[in-house]
Structure formats: structure tokens, C-alpha cells
Point group: C2
Chain length 220, copies 2
């Protein structure tokens, strides 16, 4: 056996994906001044079963009290720590089209521990524009952003054609996490994590489920 390392290494991916939901529910409870919550209540608020919630939380440790429930503040703090949100994460948004500008103006990021420190675009005609109060910067600013501001997460909001190039620029500058909104498969070296969110894909999945219940005769 090697070093024990940190204690929270082996959380299943499926659990990790649900933790943000629990954190959101806990934050809402805390805002309403509720000090304690049972697994049943919290599970309902997060849209999962209570068994699954308890199993997920058990991966973090034993922070509940049997017969009572969970301390809201404490549990929120533990999940925050497990997700690595004890400090803000600097984020850069690449691509100032419609979606990029909407993301730049979105205020929800700051509330969840993310700080948009730069807006970039590969098109020289867009560089220098003002978007949501910030000046759009050129792609070659990326290395400095990583070194000087600890930039760690890149959001790709470019058209599909420019996504791989934007991704390469991010990776080369040292960014290790990428959130991709372009409908494209990005290839990255080992150690870089990419999550792709594609609006059309989501709609197509809904279409599949929709056709199963919809009446077959739809007039065009």
C-alpha cells in the first residue's frame, strides 16, 4: 500500500454527479434557517431516493446523527469540501457568440464558487469589445491567465468548427478542465477532463422519449 493520500478519493462518479444537487438543496434550507434535515426530506428536495442519498453521503464519511438527521450547515460544508469548492475557481469563457455572451452575463456562477476572470475570442474583430463589463481578450493571453490567476477551467462556447482549436489552446496553456458547449468531440491528452453539454443532443433524447407516447398521426 502506498500513501493514504486524501481520504476522499474513491467516490463513484455517479455519486459525484449528484453532490451538487444535494449542496443546492442544503443551501436553500440554510437560507430558510432550517438547522437540521432528515435523509428523507433532503432526498425529496434533491429528487432522489433516501437510500441513494445516504449511500452517497456515506462515501464522504459519517456526518449524520442516527435518530436525528443531518446538520444542514455541517453537511453543506462537508460536500463543499469534497467537491473542492472551499476556494473560488477561476474560469475563462472562450467564444463570444450568443451563448458566450449569455454565459458571461450569468450571475449564478459566482454564487457557486466560480469566478469568471476572462472572456476570450479567436476572432480579432471581436477582441477588444466590451461584454458584460469586461474587455474581450485574444487567445494568446491564456498562458498568462494560467500563471498569474491560476486559471483552471475553460468554457468553450465557440462554433463547432473552432472548438478543437480553442480546446488545444486551453490545454497548451495548462488548463486541465474543460466544459464544452460546442457539438463536437474534443480530443485531449490524458489528465485533462472534458465535459460536453450539447443542447441539440438533449432535445434529440427528448424527441425519442416523446415519440413513444405521442400519437403517431401528426399533421404537417
Amino acid at each position: 500500500m502506498s500513501a493514504p493520500a486524501t481520504t476522499r478519493r474513491d467516490i463513484p462518479d455517479a455519486s459525484v454527479a449528484r453532490l451538487p444537487g444535494y449542496l443546492r438543496a442544503l443551501t436553500a434550507l440554510a437560507r430558510n434557517g432550517i438547522p437540521s434535515v432528515s435523509s428523507e426530506e433532503l432526498a425529496t428536495a434533491a429528487g432522489v431516493s433516501s437510500t441513494m442519498l445516504r449511500k452517497d453521503l456515506s462515501h464522504l464519511g459519517s456526518y449524520g446523527v442516527r435518530g436525528v438527521g443531518y446538520d444542514v450547515e455541517r453537511l453543506a460544508s462537508e460536500i463543499t469540501s469534497a467537491l473542492g469548492l472551499t476556494q473560488d475557481w477561476p474560469v475563462a469563457i472562450v467564444g463570444m457568440g450568443n451563448l458566450g455572451r449569455a454565459l458571461a452575463a450569468y450571475r449564478g456562477f459566482a454564487e457557486r464558487g466560480f469566478r469568471v476572470i476572462a472572456l476570450l475570442d479567436g476572432d480579432p474583430r471581436v477582441v477588444g469589445d466590451r461584454v458584460a463589463g469586461d474587455v474581450v481578450r485574444p487567445m494568446h493571453d491564456l498562458p498568462d491567465l494560467v500563471v498569474d490567476h491560476g486559471l483552471a477551467i475553460g468554457v468553450i462556447a465557440t462554433p463547432s468548427a473552432g472548438a478543437q482549436e480553442a480546446c488545444d489552446d486551453l490545454v497548451e496553456a495548462g488548463v486541465r478542465s474543460v466544459l464544452n458547449f460546442a457539438p463536437a468531440v474534443l480530443s485531449v491528452p490524458d489528465g485533462v477532463v472534458v465535459r460536453t453539454v450539447d443542447l441539440s443532443t438533449e432535445l434529440q433524447i427528448l424527441a425519442f422519449h416523446g415519440q413513444r407516447v405521442a400519437a403517431p398521426e401528426v399533421v404537417v
Copy 2:
């Protein structure tokens, strides 16, 4: 046993979620005039393993030729049919904030078989505005949209607080599929399918993976 119904009922959810990716890759191949493709090539283009691709396609039927590969046009057509995209799906976007306006201006939907037929908002001060060439309509227009235009999919781009109400309006009007961008858990009756895409959740998952490899010392 009841009626045999359609033949494509039992496709695993995990497979359905990957079909749009295959379709996207096939469309790109067709645009380049490539008539045939092997499972290995297509899998690489879609970012999955060739075994998984073949297993997924086997749920649709046997449309490949051993020793040769798949006919690009034919396979694209079969997937299009399986997903229920042989005709356009009318979509309505609810909530004309930053994100809603960006979605309204996005042209990618039309290319993938979706037609935005209405933009709506619950705020009377926004109703009547022009967004991307369309006039924003009030929520009580929903029932007519369902009856007259076959509206089937609703996209919720409202703030978190108004999401459940917007969802209730959609469901009451007869919409059976909802794509939710608000960071909220929506409760719907049986038969209604909801998919939630939350940007902050995606970033938080990235943060978790990022902290595992990042150097612990990050200067604030």
C-alpha cells in the same frame, strides 16, 4: 401479450443518449461525400469504443455489412427514424433572460430537426418585446400553441424561482417533454419527461476532478 407495437421500444437509455452523437458524426461524413464507414472509424469520430458502437447499433437492427462497414446515408436515416426525427419538432422557449435570448438566436436547432415556434415569458413587461425577430408571447398562449402547432417540447430558461411554475404551465397545456436549464428540481406527473442541464453542476463536477490532480498549494 398485447400488441407488438413498434419494433424499437427496448433501446437502453444509455444507448439512446449516444445516438445523437453517432448521427452528428454520420452527417459530417455525408457532407464530405464519404459513402461508407467502419465501426472503428465511426466510433473514433463519435468518441466511443467500436464495440460499444456496434452494440448500440445492434439495438436498431442489422444495418451493417460484414467485411465492409455501414452505408453512411442508410445508417443516418435509420438513426433519424429511431430518434423520431423524421419530422420537425415544434419547440417553445420560456424565459427571455440572457440564456433564453441566446437560445432563441441559436441556429443549430433547425439543422437538427427542431423548430422554435414561440418565445414566451411570464413577465408582462417582457411580453411584446422583439427577440431574434419574434415577438415574445404571454404564458396563456401555450394551450393554443399545443393545439394549433403541435407544440411538444418546452425549454425552460427562467430563473430558478420561476421554473416550477413555468413547468406547470407547460404540462397543463399538454407539453410532455421539458428541457430545463434552471438549477431546480422539477416535479411533474407521470408521462412527462424532464431533462435538466445545470451549468453550475457541470462546473462543480469539473472542480471535483480538477482538485484531484491540481497541486494543493494555490495562491489566493
